[in-house]
């Protein structure tokens, strides 16, 4: 019994899915403001698609796309708020190519950043690593010369 309890303690639990919470929030938003839900649904469509297809743990790409899309959706949402949160106003906003293009472009920028940033960071880390290796090799060579130690294999 004790063994099974300790085994249960050591086995990592799978992360809890928050899909139900997201569904609940979406449902609440649709119930409270269908126009706002429609606007966000249209403007954040790339992010939602990415959220569906991003299988990386923590969905980092989807988060970047959604964050960028949200940043571009603040102004249209404000306009909709000022227009009384009507469905017409939401459709007007969605039909505006500038609004829709801006939001989707922001999402694309977020996606691009999420793809490029790891490459840049990798380049930086590799450069630092190469420099450190060179420094260590030089130090080792000095030790070898001074103390007659064998070279590294």
């Amino acid at each position: 019994m004790a063994r099974s309890r300790s085994a249960a303690k050591t086995t990592p639990r799978p992360p809890r899915s928050l899909a139900w919470l997201q569904g609940l929030l979406c449902g609440a938003l649709i119930m409270v403001s269908p126009a706002l839900a429609l606007l966000f649904g249209g403007l954040l469509a790339p992010g939602l698609v990415t959220l569906a297809i991003d299988h990386i743990q923590g969905k980092p790409v989807a988060r970047a796309v959604l964050m960028s899309g949200l940043a571009a959706s603040v102004a249209p949402a404000r306009e909709l708020w000022l227009a009384g949160l009507s469905l017409d106003a939401a459709l007007v906003q969605l039909s505006d190519p500038l609004v829709l293009g801006t939001a989707w472009a922001a999402g694309a920028a977020g996606w691009l950043l999420a793809e490029v940033a790891p490459i840049v960071v990798r380049l930086v880390l590799d450069m630092r690593s190469t420099a450190r290796i060179a420094e260590l090799r030089a130090r080792r060579a000095r030790y070898e010369e001074e103390w007659g130690l064998p070279p590294i294999e």
Binding site: A71, A72, A114, A117, P118, L125, R137, E146, L149
Partner: protein, 675 residues
């Protein structure tokens, strides 16, 4: 015993040259002329003209010491410039230039007054012998006896006369071990059977014996018993007595015959003393009731040699120890002693030797038999020398015998002498020769010699004993080939001059022979370094030990020795590789050169033998090893961490993208809130 006593005396005789070879003068007074030999004047040794450096007219003689035959340190010390009539006393001694361009050891004395008496075919009259030979030589012997010395080289070719009617003068006998140049016929049987260099100082009675044989030789005009080999001649002397054996059928004048009977007595205590020989008429009347040796009714055959008395048996057993031991063990000797010789006392002594043989059963059988033969010889003949495996050596002749064996003697003699020391035969010999010497002192002496021998290899150990027992034996190191280094004070000078030769500098400056030489000189404190290191074996001692010993020697004479220091520095260069730090090695190399130029060996030693620096170097190596290990781990980590870095980069990139989005969202929210 004089050599033994002298061997332990610190210092050297006063008249010895401190650095004769360097100045070319012996005792800083006498110059040798090696291109002017004096043929036949050295009593068997090469002799040359010599002069006092301030008095060009003074003609002297320099007798050259033969390699391996050390001069008589005791006699040279006690007789230096003594006034003894009819004797060439030593004036000084030391190394000097030799004819071959090298060096040799010389003893300086006056030259003989004329040719030697060894003129074949001439028979001297009785009156001539008494007036011109007996009286002056007896006076010389009396002078020697008063000083506790012996001559041990009395024979016709070492007696000199200025011309017809002139008294004879005894030649030089100080440049070689006592009696070593004497034909065996001039020696009593117990001395004649010894190794030539091992006859020992003996007593003045042995000189009287030699004088007797000399008188007989001159009277007959020929050497008696010349047709016999030494062993047969000694057996003849033992069989019939020396007088009868030597005179044989010859017609000897009656007075001379009476004198010779006393001079050639078998027992040295019965021989006429020199003081009595000064008055031949009185000496002739001297009668001692010496009991003739007991003779057996039947001979004992020892390897087909018939033996008739105890001394003859002792001699046969000394020369044939294996056969003697066999006869002892099977009881033939005991039976012969009791039944045919009728001597139960001797029989009891032999039984005691056999009993001791029984106690040696655990040892090597051959060695136990040799010990049995040695004890039995001593028991049978109270005059016999130490007899070990066919070698005979007088008790006080062990030192010169070892010197001769170590430097130039045949290998078997050296091995047997070494074995004799290893088994402390001298201490054991006393059990058969009680009453002849101080047993306790000799046992201690034997133990000490063995201790000198024990921790060393064959050459090193024997060499040490040879040098210790012969204070004037020059060092036989191959480095000193052509040189004569007999004193500590000469060692550094010789090494300094040798250091100029490129071929010598490939060798070690302190080889096994020189190490043994230094250790043997007991007045040299630096010898302790070598003993402590136990390094005077066949291989040279480690370099720091060599430098320590030579530095200790330099403290006695602190003159700078740049050549020797450079030589040692060269030898030390390979040892610099022992230092781990390259910087320290380079620094040490520079300091070595500086020390070499300075010529002080102590500084060289301090540089090379620095425990603190060694510790620091070892600690530095340890720290470096640890640091390199850490570097290796880190390098390994960096080289193998590509995938890890990729993961980190991916995570950091995504976080960066998310953070950028969040910042943008925050900014737009802020702008929206501000309207």
């Amino acid at each position: 015993m004089a050599d033994l006593a002298n061997a332990t005396e610190p210092g050297l005789p006063d008249r010895a040259a401190p650095a004769g070879a360097s100045s070319g003068l012996i005792a800083q007074e006498y110059a040798v002329e090696p291109n002017r030999p004096l043929h036949g004047a050295g009593g068997g040794l090469a002799a040359f003209m010599a002069r006092h450096h301030t008095a060009a007219q003074s003609e002297l003689m320099a007798v050259q010491v033969r390699p391996g035959w050390p001069p008589r340190a005791g006699a040279l010390a006690h007789l230096a410039a003594a006034t003894i009539p009819a004797l060439l006393v030593p004036l000084a001694h030391g190394p000097g230039p030799a004819g071959n361009g090298g060096e040799a050891y010389y003893v300086i004395c006056r030259p003989p007054p004329g040719p030697s008496l060894a003129t074949p075919g001439r028979s001297w009259s009785e009156q001539e012998l008494i007036d011109l030979v007996l009286r002056p030589v007896a006076a010389a012997l009396e002078g020697l006896r008063a000083k506790g010395m012996t001559h041990r080289a009395i024979r016709p070719d070492n007696l000199f006369s200025a011309g017809p009617g002139e008294p004879a003068v005894l030649g030089c006998a100080w440049a070689s071990p006592p009696g070593c140049l004497q034909p065996a016929v001039f020696e009593p049987p117990y001395s004649g059977m010894c190794l030539p260099a091992g006859r020992g100082e003996g007593t003045i009675a042995d000189d009287v014996y030699a004088l007797g044989v000399t008188l007989l030789t001159l009277a007959l005009g020929r050497l008696p018993l010349a047709e016999l080999d030494d062993a047969t001649m000694i057996r003849r002397k033992l069989d019939v007595g020396s007088f009868a054996a030597l005179t044989g059928d010859a017609r000897v004048p009656p007075m001379l015959s009476d004198l010779l009977r006393g001079m050639l007595a078998e027992d040295p205590a019965h021989r006429t003393p020199p003081s009595m020989l000064l008055d031949p008429a009185a000496a002739r009347q001297r009668r001692l009731a010496a009991r003739p040796a007991r003779r057996a009714t039947r001979p004992l055959q020892v390897l087909a040699v018939p033996v008739w008395d105890a001394r003859g048996l002792a001699y046969a057993m000394a020369m044939q120890p294996e056969e003697g031991a066999r006869l002892l063990r099977n009881g033939a000797v005991d039976d012969w002693l009791r039944r045919y010789l009728g001597d139960p006392i001797l029989s009891a002594r032999v039984e005691e030797a056999l009993r001791l043989r029984g106690q040696d059963n655990g040892e090597d059988e051959s060695r136990a038999d040799a010990m049995l033969a040695m004890r039995s010889v001593a028991a049978l003949d109270p005059l016999a020398p130490i007899c070990w495996r066919g070698l005979a050596v007088a008790l006080d002749g062990v030192g010169p015998a070892i010197a001769a064996a170590v430097t130039s003697g045949p290998q078997p003699d050296r091995a047997r002498l070494q074995e004799m020391l290893e088994v402390e035969a001298i201490g054991t010999w006393l059990t058969g020769a009680e009453g002849r010497a101080d047993g306790m002192a000799l046992r201690q002496q034997a133990r000490m010699w063995r201790s000198w021998l024990r921790p060393r290899s064959l050459d090193g150990g024997m060499a040490r004993v040879a040098y210790a027992l012969n204070p004037l034996l020059p060092c036989a190191s191959p480095l000193f080939a052509g040189r004569c280094v007999a004193r500590l004070s000469d060692v550094l000078c010789a090494l300094e001059s040798i250091s100029a030769r490129a071929d010598s500098r490939r060798l070690s400056p302190l080889d096994a022979h020189l190490a043994a030489f230094l250790v043997a000189r007991q007045d040299f404190a630096g010898g302790g370094v070598l003993v402590a290191d136990n390094a005077a074996g066949s291989a040279p001692p480690p370099l720091p030990v060599q430098i320590a010993a030579l530095a200790a020697l330099q403290r006695l004479d602190p003159r700078p020795l740049p050549g020797l220091a450079a030589w040692l520095a060269e030898q030390a260069e390979p040892t610099l590789q022992d230092w781990h730090s390259r910087t320290r090695r380079e620094s040490m190399g520079r300091q070595l050169q500086a020390c070499a130029a300075n010529g002080q060996l102590g500084r060289l030693l301090a540089l090379l033998d620095d425990p603190e620096a060694r510790r620091t170097d070892a600690m530095g190596l340890r720290a470096a090893t640890e640091a390199v290990a850490r570097i290796d781990v880190e390098l390994h980590h960096l080289q193998d961490g590509s995938s890890e870095r990729a993961e980190v980069a991916r995570r950091l990139g995504h976080e960066t993208a998310a953070a950028a989005g969040l910042i943008a969202l925050t900014m737009t929210l802020g702008l929206a809130a501000l309207g």
